[in-house]
Amino acid sequence: MSDNHKLTDMSRWGLKKSPWAFHLSTGSCNNCDIELLDALTPRFDVERFGILLVGSPRHADILFVTGIVTVQALPRLIHVYNQIAKPCLVIALGTCACTGGIFDGSYHQIGPVDKIIPVDVYIPGCPPKPEAIISGVVKALAKI
């Protein structure tokens, strides 16, 4: 959790219970996106812990960012980050979001994500397995 969000006991309690997630693809190859969806489907089923993908950043507690952050996606990433109610958790999902991965050095890349917005948890992997994603979320919640 970045320093500019001071956590009160109340917000800590509110954030810990059933965190809702918003997923933003900023130039990924789809792999991380489908593995994130996979974590919601019957095999892993994180919905039983109250974790839910929501359609609007204004409802979200967790922001999952995948991809290298392309020039065209940058304004949207900042816009979405500003829309999320603070305090929020930002999770960089996949190697591309963490470091740029194989696309590092592309002329259309501005990222990685932590250059643009503060990131709380990095989940590396190309793509990370659903187990890794769940473990990352658990670590993020443990930070609160």
């Binding site: 933003l24 489908i34 392309t70 020039v71 900042i78 194989i102 002329y107 890349q109 250059k115 503060p118």
Partner: protein, 401 residues
């Protein structure tokens, strides 16, 4: 009165960023336009700085869902360029991996189609049946997605003897489930009412808009790269090309469901016929020249063109991915339909936007088609400068340097 409805670039139902501008009059759609490039990563340009072996991993990451189609097409192109004949066992392994991928991709599409029409039961079912296939990939290659099985001149890993019964068991268990699933969907009056006669594509339109893959086959165009230009071992197994005549969303769903059963048939024959032998041949120095490679990806024809100047890096790589080819047909499918059908028709071509992002320069209303490396670099620097200027006050905006 005409109204423009923007769908995207970040829409709750779209997994990936893409912008559709839909012009409506009341409930009826009168025009559609689309914008891409939120996912543009400059893969063709990066490929020029990688060796052939490295570029293979790069093309694998064009799209996570077709992560074996692009490498096979790239391998076909380089093998065509260097005149390499791969061993028989490698051909069969390529076919098995490609068909397993088709099953997982079609199941994924069925699930998402259920998600788009608000029928979450279908979504959860389809993704549950998809999970054993992902596990198979993990057993075969060590990764659930992006398998890294392909190699120029063969395959990187063997399908071991002890794995074959596991694959057999999984596809044998999957087959009755797919039959059950197909019956459940095609007998469900709600699904039929929702899917039939939505987003119709006539055979003429399918040909005129140059559609490929399941979209073309659902409209009665009998094309399939696996049969027409056989690669790997498709010419040695018995299977048939699935076609339908209606061209609506239901026909696309039927084509995909029946193709899963054909894929199971192909895998079963390949596992029985797979001969022992080496996995790869030694790759000679890549000569000067050019090569093309095609592959039938789950979404249609995937085309790679490789130009070599005799070094160990490709001089030029050109990729033509199936989603990009299929999207223009929206113009004939959407006009006259209702707003509520938009996402369903979008889903019907199974667009994978990761494959479809291009750069094009428009100067004074005229398309300037060629952009040199210098142009692109300058444009990129200029845009980065503008963005830095614009987002100075935002959080992290100052961190861009």
């Amino acid at each position: 009165m005409r109204t423009t409805i923007p769908i995207g670039p970040y829409h709750p139902l779209l997994e990936e960023p893409e912008l559709f501008r839909v012009v409506v009059e009341g409930e009826r759609i009168v025009d559609i336009d689309w914008r891409t490039s939120w996912n543009h990563r400059g893969i063709e340009k990066i490929a020029e700085s990688k060796t052939y072996e490295q570029a293979l991993f790069l093309v694998e990451r064009i799209c996570g869902i077709c992560s074996t189609s692009h490498p096979i097409a790239f391998c076909n192109a380089v093998e065509d360029l260097a005149d390499i004949e791969i061993p028989d066992r490698a051909k069969y392994i390529r076919t098995i991996v490609a068909e397993l991928e088709r099953i997982h991709s079609h199941l994924l599409w069925l699930g998402l189609a259920g998600h788009y029409i608000g029928y979450h039961t279908v979504w959860m079912w389809a993704w549950r049946y998809r999970e054993p296939i992902c596990e198979l990939f993990e057993i075969i290659s060590g990764n659930r997605q992006s398998y890294a099985m392909m190699k120029i001149g063969g395959v990187r890993q063997d399908i071991k003897e002890e794995t074959i019964p596991i694959i057999m068991k999984t596809i044998n268990e999957l087959e009755p489930k797919i039959h059950m699933f197909a019956d459940a969907i095609l007998d469900d009056p709600v699904m039929l009412a929702r899917l039939r006669n939505v987003g119709k594509l006539s055979k003429e339109d399918a040909i005129n808009w140059c559609t490929v893959g399941p979209v073309a086959r659902s409209a009665g165009v009998d094309i399939d790269i696996r049969r027409d230009y056989p690669y790997a071992s498709y010419d040695r197994v018995e299977w048939k090309v699935i076609t339908q005549v209606d061209g609506d969303v239901l026909a696309v769903a039927v084509v995909r469901l029946l193709e899963i059963l054909e894929s199971i048939k192909i895998i079963r024959q390949c596992l029985e016929k797979m001969p022992p032998g080496p996995l790869q041949v030694e790759v000679p120095e890549i000569p000067v020249g050019e090569g093309i490679g095609v592959e039938e990806a789950p979404r249609g024809e995937c085309f790679h063109y490789v130009q070599s100047d005799g070094t160990n890096c490709p001089y030029r790589l050109k990729i033509r991915a199936p989603s990009y080819v299929n999207i223009p047909c929206f113009r004939s499918r959407f006009i006259g339909e209702r707003i509520s059908d938009i996402l369903l028709i979008l889903a019907s071509v199974d667009p994978c936007y990761c494959c479809t992002n291009r750069t094009i320069k428009i100067d004074n209303g005229k398309v300037k088609s060629t952009m040199t490396d210098k142009d692109l670099l300058e444009l990129s620097w200029k845009e980065t400068e503008q963005l830095r200027e614009h987002y100075k006050g935002y959080p992290g905006g100052g961190l861009l340097e």
